[in-house]
C-alpha cells in the first residue's frame, strides 16, 4: 500500500474537501492503485541538467489598466453573498 485511509483523510482536510468514511475507503483503494502506477517513475534515473527556457516572464508596470467599476459589479454579481462592494464571509476571529 502506498497510502492509508488516514493519509486520505488528512489529504482531504488539507484540500478542504469533506468526504465521508465510505468514500474515504473507496478513494484509498483507487488512489493507491494510481500512485502505484505513477510511482514507476521513482526508480528511473534522470540527469538533472539546466535547461534554458524559451519563454520568459512578462512584466508590465503596476498601474490601473481598467476603468473604475468596469468589472466590479459583474464580478460581485457572481458572489454567493455580498454586502455593498464586499464579498461576505463568516466571522474568522
Amino acid at each position: 500500500m502506498a497510502i492509508t485511509k488516514e493519509d486520505v483523510k488528512n489529504l482531504a482536510d488539507l484540500a478542504r474537501i469533506e468526504i465521508d468514511d465510505k468514500e474515504t475507503e473507496k478513494m484509498t483503494k483507487e488512489i493507491d492503485s494510481i500512485l502505484v502506477y505513477v510511482g514507476q517513475i521513482k526508480e528511473v534515473k534522470v540527469t538533472s541538467e539546466k535547461v534554458v527556457l524559451k519563454l520568459h516572464n512578462v512584466m508590465r508596470d503596476d498601474v490601473v489598466t481598467n476603468a473604475p467599476n468596469q468589472y466590479a459589479e459583474k464580478i460581485l454579481r457572481n458572489a454567493p453573498a455580498r454586502e455593498k462592494s464586499y464579498l461576505k464571509v463568516k466571522k474568522i476571529l
Binding site: 478513494m27 494510481i34 517513475i41 464571509v89
Partner: protein, 475 residues
C-alpha cells in the same frame, strides 16, 4: 434546404458570400438539427438565446463586405471557455450560475470575425476525463452509436459537430481532450503548440499543459479555425511571439520523413487497431513520405509523468473554488466548514480524487519522489523528442488504443480510463502540436467505428501537420 451533412467552413464561406443562403438560414438549419438530436446525444448544455441576433449581425457584416474566414460560421464552445454575459460551468455543479464577466481571447478574436456561437458544449467536469461520463450534467453520447461514449473531455464539442449540430467547435486539450473524442467520432482535432493559442478566459486544469484547439470536419477547416484563434496575447504570458521557434523551411519542396516509434506499439493495441495503423502508414508511403522506425526511449513514462503533473496543477488551480467568490455555496457552522461542504459536495468524484492525488504529490515528503521527479522526466522526454525531430519531420502514432468504448465500460476503474490517454499525453508533456485525423474504421460489436491517426510536429509547425493531414485525406 441546406445540406449540412457535406458542409464545411470552407464550402459554407463560398455559399454565404455568394448569398446562396444567409447566415440566418444556415443557423436555423443547425438549430433544427440540434432540436432533433440534442435530447438524445446531450452535446449541448445550453443553446444561447441570442443566436439569431448574432446571425443577423453576421449577415449584415457580409452585406457590408466585412468578410473574414469565420464570418457567419456557427460553432459550439466548450463549457470552460468564457463568453461575456453567458453562463459557463466547466461541467461542474460548483460553478452553478456563474456568468462570465469577460470574453476569452479566442472568443474575442472570433467575435471580431463575426462567428456565431450556438451554445455551450458538455464536458467532463473541469476537463478531467476521457469520456464525458464525469460531467455533472450527464454523459454525451456518441452520435455514431449512442450506446458508446463520444470521448472526452471535449465530448460535447465533438458530438455537436458529429451530430450535425455545429459546423465546428472549440475544445481544450490537456492530455488528449480534443484528439481522443475527434478520433472516436470521425472528425479532425488539433492540439496546437503549447502557448500557440491564448488561454485567457479558459478555466485552467493543468496550466503547463492546457491549450485550446479546434474541432472540425476537415483539415482545411482546422487550419481556418486555428488561424482565427492563434497568436500571442498579452493576457496570457505563456503565448509566444512568432520568432520564438524556428520555422520549418519550405517543407513542400522536399520529401518528408515521418517517424514511427514502433517500440511503443508492441503491446496494448488490439490487432485490428494495429492493422488500421499499419494501413495508414502504407498509405503515407504511397503518398511519397519516407517512414522511419524511431526510438523515444522514455515515452513510456509519459502517462505516469502526466498523471503526477496534471493533478498537482489541478489541485492548485481548483483551490479558488471556495464558495466565496462565485458559484455554489453550501453553508456550514463556520468558514472552514463552508469550504469543506462546498468543495465536498460541489466537486464530482473524479475531481475530488485528482485534487487529493495532486495534494499528495505536492506534499512534504513526497514532492521529491513524485512531482520533482516527474518534472525532470518531462524534460528527458522532451529531449528525446527534440532528438527525434533532428531525424524526422513528423511523428505518427494511433490517436487511441481502440475505438469508442461503451458507456459505463470503464467507469468503475479510474486507472483504466487514464490509460486511454497513453498516445495523446506525450504531445502535451512536450508541448508540441498534434493533430488527429480519421483513418478508417474497425468493426466492434457489429458497428463500424472510426479510428484516428495522430501526427506530431516540432513546436510551432502546425502548417506541417495540415500539409500531411490534407494529403492523407485527399483534401
Amino acid at each position: 434546404m441546406i445540406d449540412i451533412s457535406t458542409l464545411t467552413i470552407f464550402s459554407a464561406r463560398k455559399k454565404l458570400d455568394s448569398k446562396e443562403f444567409s447566415v440566418v438560414e444556415l443557423v436555423k438549419t443547425y438549430l433544427d438539427e440540434i432540436n432533433r438530436k440534442n435530447k438524445d446525444i446531450n452535446a449541448y448544455l445550453e443553446i444561447y438565446n441570442d443566436v439569431l441576433e448574432q446571425a443577423k449581425m453576421a449577415d449584415q457584416a457580409i452585406t457590408r463586405g466585412e468578410i473574414f474566414p469565420m464570418t457567419g460560421i456557427p460553432i459550439a464552445v466548450k463549457d470552460n471557455i468564457l463568453i461575456e454575459g453567458k453562463t459557463a460551468t466547466s461541467g461542474s455543479k460548483i460553478l452553478k450560475g456563474f456568468v462570465a464577466p469577460y470574453d476569452a481571447t479566442v472568443i474575442k478574436k472570433l467575435k471580431s470575425q463575426h462567428a456565431v456561437f450556438l451554445g455551450r458544449a458538455n464536458m467532463d467536469e473541469f476537463a478531467m476525463g476521457s469520456s464525458t461520463e464525469n460531467s455533472a450534467f450527464g454523459v454525451t453520447k456518441n452520435p455514431l452509436d449512442p450506446t458508446r461514449v463520444a470521448g472526452g473531455s471535449s465530448g460535447g464539442s465533438v458530438a455537436s459537430v458529429a451530430m450535425g449540430g455545429a459546423l465546428a467547435s472549440l475544445g481544450s486539450d490537456t492530455g488528449g481532450s480534443v484528439r481522443e473524442p475527434t478520433s472516436f467520432c470521425g472528425l479532425v482535432g488539433l492540439k496546437p503548440t503549447y502557448g500557440g493559442v491564448s488561454r485567457y478566459g479558459l478555466m485552467a486544469l493543468g496550466s503547463s499543459l492546457d491549450v485550446i484547439g479546434p474541432v472540425t470536419k476537415t483539415v482545411t477547416d482546422s487550419e481556418i479555425l486555428w488561424d482565427a484563434i492563434k497568436g500571442q496575447d498579452k493576457m496570457d504570458s505563456t503565448t509566444y511571439s512568432e520568432d520564438v521557434y524556428p520555422k520549418n523551411k519550405n517543407s513542400k519542396n522536399k520529401s518528408l520523413t515521418i517517424g514511427v516509434p514502433y517500440h511503443i506499439l508492441e503491446k496494448g493495441l488490439r490487432g485490428d487497431v494495429r492493422k488500421n495503423f499499419d494501413e495508414s502508414i502504407e498509405k503515407l508511403k504511397k503518398l511519397g513520405y519516407k517512414i522511419k522506425d524511431i526510438k523515444l526511449p522514455n515515452i513510456g513514462y509519459s502517462l505516469a509523468v502526466y498523471y503526477i503533473i496534471m493533478p498537482a496543477e489541478a489541485s492548485s488551480n481548483l483551490a479558488r473554488f471556495d464558495g466565496v467568490k462565485y458559484g455554489l455555496h453550501i453553508d456550514g457552522n463556520d468558514l472552514l466548514s463552508d469550504y469543506l461542504k462546498t468543495r465536498g459536495m460541489g466537486f464530482g468524484e473524479e475531481v475530488r480524487r485528482r485534487i487529493l492525488i495532486g495534494t499528495y504529490v505536492l506534499s512534504t515528503g513526497y514532492y521529491e519522489a513524485y512531482y520533482n521527479k516527474a518534472i525532470h522526466l518531462r524534460q528527458t522526454i522532451s529531449n528525446d523528442f527534440q532528438k527525434a525531430f533532428t531525424e524526422v519531420n513528423a511523428i505518427a502514432l494511433p490517436t487511441t488504443t481502440g475505438p469508442a468504448f461503451k458507456i459505463g465500460e470503464k467507469a468503475s476503474d479510474p486507472l483504466a480510463l487514464y490509460l486511454e490517454d497513453v498516445f495523446t499525453v506525450p504531445a502535451n508533456i512536450v508541448g508540441v502540436p498534434a493533430i488527429s485525423i480519421p483513418s478508417g474504421s474497425v468493426n466492434d460489436g457489429g458497428v463500424d467505428l472510426p479510428l484516428g491517426i495522430q501526427f506530431m510536429a516540432p513546436h510551432n509547425c502546425e502548417e506541417l501537420l495540415f500539409e500531411i493531414g490534407k494529403k492523407f485525406l485527399g483534401e
